[in-house]
């Protein structure tokens, strides 16, 4: 087990290094630099580049960045003076994570319930309703959901605030907007998974030996059906807690999502690198956690062996 974790950690570092390198190359392929959109005289432009050591050859900049990254230093934003990338992440991430986890919890609970109910009534009306709802929720883009929600509940009915991030009430609309597509995805996944398990012989055996239906559901069906959900939790969580640009923009939420778009727009190199690396670390870390969680959910899985 320990050897497995150690090896995975080595892999993770290599993967992160690849991602950082590729992002570094990609962003320098984009024409322009962080200061080219400002109206600067050539001399000042040169001085700005010099100040951020961007007059040096690219490979030097790359090595410097990697060195700083290894020490956990993400550097300063080039467009927002005197702000470190780490600070920006420290401010934005809790907001995005708050919103994301709230939506994730709602989507997960509602989606799993709906998926289980649908599977238990396979081809009955609850199944059709759930499948239909899931497809509709998957198909309607989040900015449509968001704008309809803002218009109906915010503008027309005036029940909830349209935007801003101030009190728990302000979190309701964005949470719902985000949760809708999560719910749909979880419903589909859980329904398929439960149906698959219900067709297994051990379920018939469990019924045949006289276990109560609730017991069969909890001990035999759900424990096995939850595995695919655990698998997708890694990337799903990483994606949602790092913020969603559209929802955060629409609802005026000071989260992390906007930096992923803004930084590329502004060629804010340290911010591009910082947000990407941050996301990748979360993704890789959560995937590792998920793999470890497998062993808890399913004792049949032994990680050391699976990896060989």
């Amino acid at each position: 087990m320990l050897r497995y974790v150690a090896r995975r950690l080595v892999y993770a570092v290599v993967t992160l290094w690849f991602i950082a390198t590729l992002t570094f190359v990609l962003m320098h392929l984009v024409p322009g630099d962080p200061f080219s959109s400002e109206k600067l005289t050539p001399q000042i432009h040169q001085l700005m580049l010099k100040k951020y050591h961007m007059d040096r050859p690219l490979w030097q900049q790359y090595l410097t960045y990697l060195g700083n990254l290894a020490r956990g230093d993400l550097g300063y934003s080039m467009r927002q003076m005197n702000r470190t990338v780490a600070d920006m992440i420290r401010e934005g991430f809790p907001v995005s994570a708050h919103l994301g986890l709230q939506a994730l919890a709602l989507g997960l609970v509602a989606g799993l319930t709906l998926g289980i109910v649908a599977a238990l009534h396979h081809n009955g009306w609850p199944d059709y309703v759930a499948v239909f709802l899931a497809l509709v929720f998957i198909s309607v883009p989040n900015f449509v959901v968001g704008s309809v929600a803002q218009y109906v509940f915010g503008v027309r009915l005036g029940w909830l605030p349209v935007a801003r991030w101030e009190s728990p009430i302000h979190t309701i609309l964005p949470t719902l907007t985000l949760a809708v597509s999560l719910l749909a995805g979880q419903t589909r996944l859980m329904r398929t998974s439960v149906l698959e398990v219900l067709g297994q012989d051990y379920i018939r055996t469990a019924h045949a030996k006289g276990l109560a239906p609730g017991e069969v559901l909890w001990r035999h069906t759900l424990r096995n059906a939850i595995l695919p959900i655990v698998t997708v939790m890694g990337p799903l969580t990483a994606g949602i807690v790092t913020g969603t640009f559209v929802v955060e923009t629409m609802f005026g939420i000071p989260g992390l999502g906007k930096y992923y778009v803004q930084s590329v727009y502004n060629r804010d190199y340290p911010l591009i690198m910082g947000t990407t690396v941050f996301y990748s670390v979360l993704l890789v870390g959560l995937n590792l956690l998920v793999d470890l969680a497998y062993t808890l959910v399913d004792p049949r899985i032994r990680l050391g062996k699976a990896a060989d």
């Binding site: 883009p141 503008v155 778009v261």
Partner: protein, 314 residues
């Protein structure tokens, strides 16, 4: 009991009572239903899936309107009229006009055409690269597989958006740059899927037989492996198209979509979102059509998945 079990003397049963029993067994092996090919079988099950058929119908209608719709009005999608800005729906302008006085009905279907085009083109790129990549990685395995899939992992690890935005910024916003940007990263999912399928299929006996007969590897992949993954691929394509359309709409939302005066559903939604409080109908029509297209593809893909899944066969 003992008396009953004792064998009856042979002469107790007259010979004419004996009947040959073999025919019954032969008939059990007979094919009672007309033979049905794989695709005919799938079509039969597809037709019974009402949601999938509804999805197909919706797509056909939207597709027809995307072709014919812009020609149903006397207006051009670019034609502005500063006297007729932000009009509500009326007899002259069925869906009203936008902030530059352009007819929304005309622009809507023109935009649907662009959105569908982007979706289909991006999905085609996904299909070609993804199938080739996944097919080769899965079939050859070993070092080839390792290297190819690590590349996929790295691409997968970088936020999808970052690459797309970077590419669009490099090439400059526009129809083709969007298609290229989305196609160049979207194939990753397809490659993983195809690889997984190929890993299963290449262990089958018929592949072994083909190899034993000396069929060259690439021909085995093309003739034996790919056709057997076709169902999964087809389903994935129908689910990729809405993804790409959604992606374009998102790019429009951050200002990197198709540029005015060209319309796409995403760019129409974005520009009307600015005036949502005042002219909600301008947001309603493009949102509804976009949602209908995505619904159509998702319903279709779902139905196809069920129809092509051999486990669902009854």
């Amino acid at each position: 009991m003992a008396a009953r079990l004792s064998p009856t003397p042979p002469d107790a049963v007259p010979a004419e009572l004996f009947r040959p029993a073999s025919q019954v067994h032969e008939r059990a092996e007979a094919i009672t239903r007309p033979p049905v090919g794989r695709w005919a079988d799938a079509w039969g099950r597809f037709r019974q899936n009402r949601m999938a058929v509804a999805g197909l119908v919706v797509l056909l209608v939207v597709g027809f309107m995307a072709v014919a719709g812009p020609h149903m009005t006397p207006y051009d999608y670019r034609q502005t009229s500063l006297l007729d800005t932000d009009l509500p729906p009326s007899a002259e302008h069925w869906f009203g006009t936008d902030e530059l006085g352009r007819d929304i009905f005309t622009r809507l279907w023109y935009g649907a055409r662009i959105s569908l085009l982007i979706g289909i083109l991006a999905a085609s790129i996904d299909l070609v690269i993804g199938v080739a990549w996944g097919g080769i990685a899965g079939y050859f395995g070993g070092v080839v597989d390792d290297v190819m899939m690590r590349i996929v992992d790295v691409l997968y690890g970088i936020p999808y958006l970052l690459i797309v935005i970077l590419l669009v910024v490099v090439v400059g916003p526009g129809l083709w740059s969007i298609v290229i940007a989305m196609g160049s990263v979207g194939w990753v999912g397809m490659a993983r899927l195809v690889r997984g399928q190929v890993l299963q299929i290449k262990e089958q006996e018929y592949v072994l037989a083909a190899r034993a007969l000396g069929v060259p590897p690439l021909k085995i992949v093309w003739r034996h492996v790919i056709p057997n993954t076709l169902g999964v691929i087809l389903v994935n394509v129908t689910l990729t198209v809405p993804g790409a359309i959604f992606g374009e709409a998102f790019l429009s939302f951050i200002g990197l979509g198709v540029q005015d005066p060209l319309a796409s559903l995403g760019s129409m939604i974005y520009s009307s979102y600015q005036v949502l409080r005042v002219y909600p109908h301008e947001l309603f029509f493009p949102s509804a059509v976009l949602s209908l297209i995505l619904l159509g593809f998702n319903f279709l893909g779902d139905g196809l998945r069920d129809a092509l899944d051999p486990r669902e066969r009854r």
